[in-house]
């Protein structure tokens, strides 16, 4: 073998590698019934007794103060479709506490130079509230009244009955609904004119609120207009101040907002004959699920595939928990869309405090329209639970984590609103149902 031949021999491995590269692939693909033996897809709707064992409602999740907004209502929910005789309408008041005033402002002096000025004289103020024009329920312009609270109260825990309602300490108001108050002023909110309400605060009140050690500082916003429920998104205290550098100029500055909360009455009782989600503090409905691994019906399924029919997680293309809406207390009926989610209760033994698994309905959750909960209601809402049901049948998540047969229906963001939604419970003719879409290969099925 000469040198040239050896050269060729050395080149062979390189050639082998070169020709072995670039192996991409496109399979021939055609649309033809000849090529596919399609499976069988069936839809089955199971009654609650076939997939669930228990449903109950827990309340008290979160606090009203966590909403960072408020409600103002008077005798709400007593209209023609309103409360039964003897029931009271909703009363709600928003509580605000403003904090430290600014210590200095930047002011343009007579020479035209911007300079900080810490010697301020506060003249008066304005409470400026932004109200939700969509969620608020009113028939026209509404007068909102601001009262100064005169009793010490706790922003996070105050309720209609108690000025302080925290663990180990309960201090009732001298009068339910904010105790003895002093009127500050009022303003009229016309939603057609915008979403802003302004109420003037006099200089004496402004001066008294400068004492941040005074725990009775605060404002209560209410209305005397019956049948009104307003949702407030935010409230600010604008102060007018006279700087020492340029006394001819009035400067507006913003005070801190220390607490925004709301108190309401009556507090809804736990439902006896319905499932409930939402509210503030929030309600959750907890269900124990046990989806069947073998189907014995319905007849239309058995006719196609034969029964009993064993099902596996992978055969479930879709599972939806069907809930029928109820119109309960109009005082708390939704006026805007609510979103709900369903999550696993990871430690059911310690309910209602059990931690929950991750959301299962995606970022958006299941969006519920408010009109579904107005009389006559009866709308069927479907909460997708495909992954949950698959996990329950599998006995573990796809990642191998343990599963719990107990799940909670809850508001996607909790608490979201004073409003809650109700569904028929398991004892109702419209009890929750489970809709399944199942796929089977040809020729499968039971018998025997």
């Amino acid at each position: 073998m000469n040198d040239r031949s050896r050269g060729w021999m050395r080149a062979l491995p390189v050639i082998a590698v070169v020709v072995g590269t670039g192996c991409d692939e496109v399979l021939p693909t055609a649309s033809s019934d000849d090529l596919i033996q399609g499976g069988v897809a069936v839809e089955v709707t199971l009654p609650f007794t076939d997939f669930g064992t228990r449903a109950r409602v827990y309340g008290g999740y979160g606090r009203a103060s966590e909403l960072a907004g408020g409600f103002i209502a008077h005798d709400f929910g007593t209209g023609p479709d309103g409360l039964a005789a003897g029931e009271r309408g909703l009363e709600a008041a928003t509580l605000l506490r403003f904090g430290r005033y600014p210590g200095f402002v930047s002011v343009t002096d007579t020479a035209g130079t911007n300079r900080p000025d810490s010697s301020l004289t506060f003249l008066s103020g304005r409470i400026v509230a932004r109200l939700d024009t969509l969620s608020s329920i009113l028939s026209g312009p509404v007068e909102v009244i601001a009262h100064a609270i005169t009793e010490p109260w706790d922003g996070p825990s105050a309720t209609w009955e108690f000025a302080v309602d925290s663990v180990g300490l309960r201090v009732p108001w001298s009068l339910p609904g904010g105790g003895v108050v002093e009127e500050i002023g009022s303003g009229v909110w016309d939603p057609e004119a915008g979403d802003t309400l302004s109420i003037t605060v006099d200089s004496a009140r402004v001066a008294s609120w400068a004492d941040t050690a005074d725990l009775s500082r605060g404002v209560r916003l209410t209305t005397r207009a019956p049948g009104v429920r307003l949702q407030m998104r935010s409230a600010l205290l604008w102060l007018e101040t006279l700087p020492s550098i340029n006394p001819d100029t009035i400067v507006q500055v913003l005070a801190d907002t220390e607490a925004t909360s709301f108190i309401y009455d009556p507090i809804p009782k736990a439902p006896d004959n319905s499932l409930r989600v939402g509210g503030a503090p929030a309600w959750r409905t907890v269900l124990d699920l046990d989806p069947p691994r073998v189907l014995h019906g319905p007849p239309e399924l058995c006719d196609v595939l034969g029964c009993p029919l064993e099902i596996s997680p992978e055969q479930i293309s879709y599972a939806g928990l069907r809930l029928t809406t109820l119109a309960e207390s109009p005082a708390f009926a939704p006026s805007d869309t609510l979103t709900i989610d369903i999550r696993m209760v990871t430690v059911p033994d310690i309910l209602p405090k059990s931690p929950l698994g991750p959301p299962t309905t995606g970022f958006a959750g299941v969006v519920l329209a408010p009109e579904w909960f107005s009389p006559p209601a009866g709308h069927v809402v479907e909460v997708p639970v495909t992954g949950l049901v698959r996990d329950l049948l599998r006995g573990e998540t796809p990642d191998g984590d343990p599963v719990s047969n107990t799940v909670a229906l809850l508001s996607r963001f909790e608490p979201l609103s004073i409003e809650y939604v109700s569904f028929s419970d398991e004892r109702s003719a419209d009890a929750p149902r489970l809709r399944l879409i199942l796929n089977f290969p040809p020729g499968s099925g039971g018998g025997g």
């Binding site: 073998m1 000469n2 040239r4 031949s5 060729w8 021999m9 050395r10 080149a11 062979l12 491995p13 050639i15 082998a16 590698v17 020709v19 072995g20 670039g22 192996c23 991409d24 692939e25 496109v26 399979l27 021939p28 693909t29 055609a30 649309s31 033809s32 019934d33 000849d34 090529l35 596919i36 033996q37 399609g38 499976g39 897809a41 069936v42 839809e43 709707t45 992978e314 055969q315 479930i316 293309s317 879709y318 599972a319 939806g320 309905t361 995606g362 479907e382 997708p384 639970v385 495909t386 992954g387 698959r390 809709r435 879409i437 796929n439 290969p441």
Partner: protein, 389 residues
Amino acid sequence: MRKTLLVLALLAMAAPGQASGQSFLGFRGLGVPVGPADGRSVALGNLGIGLGRAGLSVTDPAAAAHIPFPSVFVSMQPMWGDFQLEDQSGTMRTTRFPLIAIGYPVLSVNGTVTLSLAGYLEQRWVGHTARTVNLGGIDVPVDDRFTTDGGTSVARVGWSQRFGARFAAGVSAGAYVGRLEREFDRTLDSLVVGGDVRSYTEASSWHYGGYTLTAGFGADPHDLIHLAGALEWSGALKESPSEDTEGDENRYSIPLRLLWGATGRLSERLHLNTSFAYQDWSGADGFQPGVVSAKTLSYGAGLELQVVRRPTRGIPLRLGYRRVVPPFRYQVQDPVETAWSVGLGFNLVEVDGIRYGWMDVAVERAERSSAPLSENFWRATVSLGITRF
């Protein structure tokens, strides 16, 4: 050391050892046959038997009798094509390594041990349909997709025995091996059903088993003529479900195959070869009615011209044509595959007619038809081999 690395490189390339064809043909049977897979046979339109010169062939068991040194070669087949199925058309493309063969002469007894792994039948295609199913009184659009991917290969061990300078005989025993993956995937329209709709996937896996025996001869009754013949017998080809697949074992009978071929030297540089194969699938058991073809005879012919001839190298130019009858129909028409081919051999190191390092390249333009299916494709075959590693 370098040669060892070369052998390892060739073996690594061939490790997948699968077939090179993609086709809808035989979707109800066992697929489409892979056919000859070495560059020289392909270029000459040969069916894998009766080519003159010492060499390795999986279907010509006596061909290795005259190789004087250990030899190994592998093939690679890229393929590009398109198909027409009724009013649809589409493309297909793949690259596979359908063949590896090793021959190890035992000079003391004038014989050669051969080992090979060669593609035999292949099923690689995708079908899909868009249809509606009625669920709860609502028509729901669904998209069904069925993918089948795999095939059968034959692993053979053989012995070629030389009887003098002009006659040889060979036998080989082979085992069918291979795997087939099928996947049915159904996607429901989430806009109609609701959110969180999951695809339904049903996957199954099958593996193949069975045995085959081949016996053949090669003879040079004259300096200008080489003849060869082989008889290939197979037991039932068993298609068994894997552990995670439900189903019964299927058994398919593989009919006897007769091959014969001849090469004649027309001049010092020009050779003519012909080959024939007879296999009657019409009585084969295990297939659905109407699946197997009634056609039995395949044939091919080709010319090899030594365009460059040096003391240690040579470059033959090859032309060929073949017409083969695949065993399984698309619908009712017996399929036919025809191919024109051209190729070059690069005998990189050739001493006294023995190739120590070579590369055979072939390009085919082929078409298959079994109404309403027709397929056209280009296929290249590149074989690399070395001797005396």
